[in-house]
C-alpha cells in the first residue's frame, strides 16, 4: 500500500508507462489514442456509477477477487488497458486513474510529440474547420494535435477546446453566461 507521495507518483508513472508502451507497440499512435479514449470512458463510468469504484476497491475482498472483478468489468477494453485496470483494482489503486491519464498524455506529448485536443461543438466539424482548428492548436501547443470531436447542443454554438488542464471556451453559452454575470454585477442598486 503506497503511503509516500513519491511512491505514488512512481506508481502512476509505471502504470502510464506500461499502458503507453504496450499500446504503442501494438498499434502505434492510434492504439495509444484508443487506450486514452477508453480510459476517459472508464473514468466517466466510475464517476457515474457510485457503486463501481467502492466495489472494485473493497478492502474486505481478496486481491484476486478484485482482480477478477475488474477483468470482468473492463473486459471490453483494449487488452493492455484491461490488464492494467485489473492490476490497479488488485492493488486498490483505481482512484489514481485520472492521474494515470494525465501521465499518459504527458508521455504522448513527450515521446510522440502529439497532444489530444478535445473539441466540443454543436454541429459536426467539416474538414475546413478541422484544418483551421488543428493549425491554431498546433501553433499554440507546439506539437502535433489529434482532435477528438464531441457534439454538445448545450453549448448553443461556438467551440470549446481543451487539452489536459488547458482550455479555451469560445462557446455561445459561455458568452451568454458571461454577459449575464456582467449585467447582474453592473447593477447600480436601482439608481436608474
Amino acid at each position: 500500500m503506497p503511503i509516500n507521495r513519491l511512491v505514488v507518483k512512481e506508481e502512476i508513472a509505471t502504470y502510464a508507462g506500461v499502458l503507453f508502451d504496450a499500446a504503442s507497440d501494438r498499434g502505434g499512435l492510434e492504439a495509444v489514442l484508443e487506450v486514452r479514449s477508453q480510459m476517459e470512458a472508464v473514468i466517466g463510468a466510475m464517476r457515474a456509477d457510485m457503486g463501481l469504484a467502492p466495489t472494485l476497491s473493497d478492502p474486505d475482498a481478496a486481491d484476486d477477487v478484485r482482480y477478477e472483478l475488474a477483468k470482468g468489468a473492463f473486459g471490453a477494453c483494449e487488452p493492455e488497458l484491461g490488464e492494467v485496470l485489473a492490476v490497479m483494482a488488485q492493488r486498490r489503486d483505481l482512484d489514481l486513474l485520472p492521474r494515470v491519464l494525465e501521465a499518459l498524455n504527458g508521455l504522448m506529448a513527450e515521446k510522440l510529440d502529439t497532444v489530444v485536443v478535445d473539441v466540443t461543438t454543436v454541429v459536426p466539424l467539416d474538414d475546413e474547420l478541422r484544418r483551421i482548428i488543428k493549425e491554431k492548436t498546433e501553433a499554440d501547443l507546439g506539437a502535433n494535435v489529434v482532435l477528438r470531436e464531441h457534439i454538445d447542443k448545450a453549448i448553443l454554438g461556438g467551440i470549446i477546446m481543451s487539452t489536459g488542464e488547458k482550455r479555451i471556451d469560445a462557446s455561445i453559452i459561455s458568452q451568454l453566461n458571461h454577459a449575464r454575470n456582467v449585467l447582474k454585477e453592473t447593477t447600480d442598486g436601482g439608481e436608474c
Binding site: L125, I159, I172, L176, C192
Partner: protein, 202 residues
C-alpha cells in the same frame, strides 16, 4: 393683709371703748327719752351681754378666724400670683414656641420651595434628557429604517434586474439555438477559433 387685720382690730377696739366710756350718758338719755329715744336706744341689760358676746366673738374671730381667713387669702393670692407667673411663663414659652414653630415653618416652606424648585429642575432636566434621548432614538430608528428600506429597495431592484437578465439571456439562448443553421454555426465556430486566445495564454 396684715395691715387690713390691724385696721379691723383698731375699729373694734374704738367701738368697745365708746360703749364703755359713755354708759351713764346712754342711761340718762334712756331715761330722758323714755318716751321717744328709748325706742331707738338699746336696753342695757341686753346690750352689755351682747357686747360682751360680740367682743368675745370678735376676739375669737380675730384670734382664730381671721388668721385662717387671712391665710386663705394669702394662699389664694399666692396661687393666683403663681398662676399668673406660670401663665406668663407659658405665654412666653408659647410665644417662643410659636416663634420657633414659625421659624421652622418658614424653614420648612423654604426647604419645600427649594425641594420643589430642585425637583422641578430635575424634572426639567429629566424631561429634556428623555426628550433628547427619544429624539435621538427616533432619528436612529428612522436612519436605520431608511438604510433597511434602501437595502431592500436595492435588493429588490437587483433581483428584478437579475430576473430580467436571466429572462433575456434565456430568450437569446433559445433564439440562437433554434435559429442558427449548421452553416451559420460553422461560420461562428470559424470566427471564434480565429478570435479565440491562445492555450498558452490561459
Amino acid at each position: 393683709m396684715k395691715a387690713r387685720a390691724s385696721k379691723a382690730t383698731a375699729l373694734g377696739i374704738a367701738a368697745v371703748a365708746c360703749l364703755a366710756a359713755f354708759p351713764t350718758a346712754a342711761l340718762a338719755a334712756e331715761e330722758e327719752a323714755a318716751g321717744g329715744l328709748s325706742v331707738i336706744l338699746p336696753n342695757m341689760l341686753e346690750f352689755v351681754p351682747m357686747l360682751v358676746a360680740f367682743i368675745i366673738l370678735w376676739i375669737i374671730l380675730a384670734k382664730f378666724g381671721w388668721p385662717m381667713f387671712n391665710g386663705m387669702l394669702e394662699k389664694r393670692e399666692n396661687t393666683i400670683r403663681e398662676a399668673l407667673r406660670k401663665s406668663e411663663e407659658a405665654q412666653i414659652e408659647s410665644e417662643r414656641t410659636l416663634a420657633e414653630y414659625r421659624k421652622q415653618l418658614a424653614d420648612a416652606k423654604a426647604q419645600a420651595a427649594a425641594l420643589i424648585a430642585e425637583a422641578r429642575e430635575t424634572g426639567d432636566a429629566v424631561k429634556a434628557g428623555i426628550t433628547e434621548k427619544a429624539h435621538a432614538e427616533a432619528a436612529d430608528m428612522i436612519a436605520k429604517a431608511k438604510v433597511a428600506i434602501e437595502a431592500e429597495k436595492k435588493q429588490a431592484i437587483a433581483e428584478l434586474q437579475a430576473s430580467v437578465v436571466d429572462t433575456s439571456v434565456d430568450v437569446a439562448a433559445r433564439l440562437i439555438g433554434e435559429d442558427l443553421t449548421e452553416g451559420e454555426h460553422r461560420k461562428v465556430i470559424e470566427r471564434y477559433v480565429k478570435e479565440a486566445g491562445s492555450f498558452n495564454a490561459n
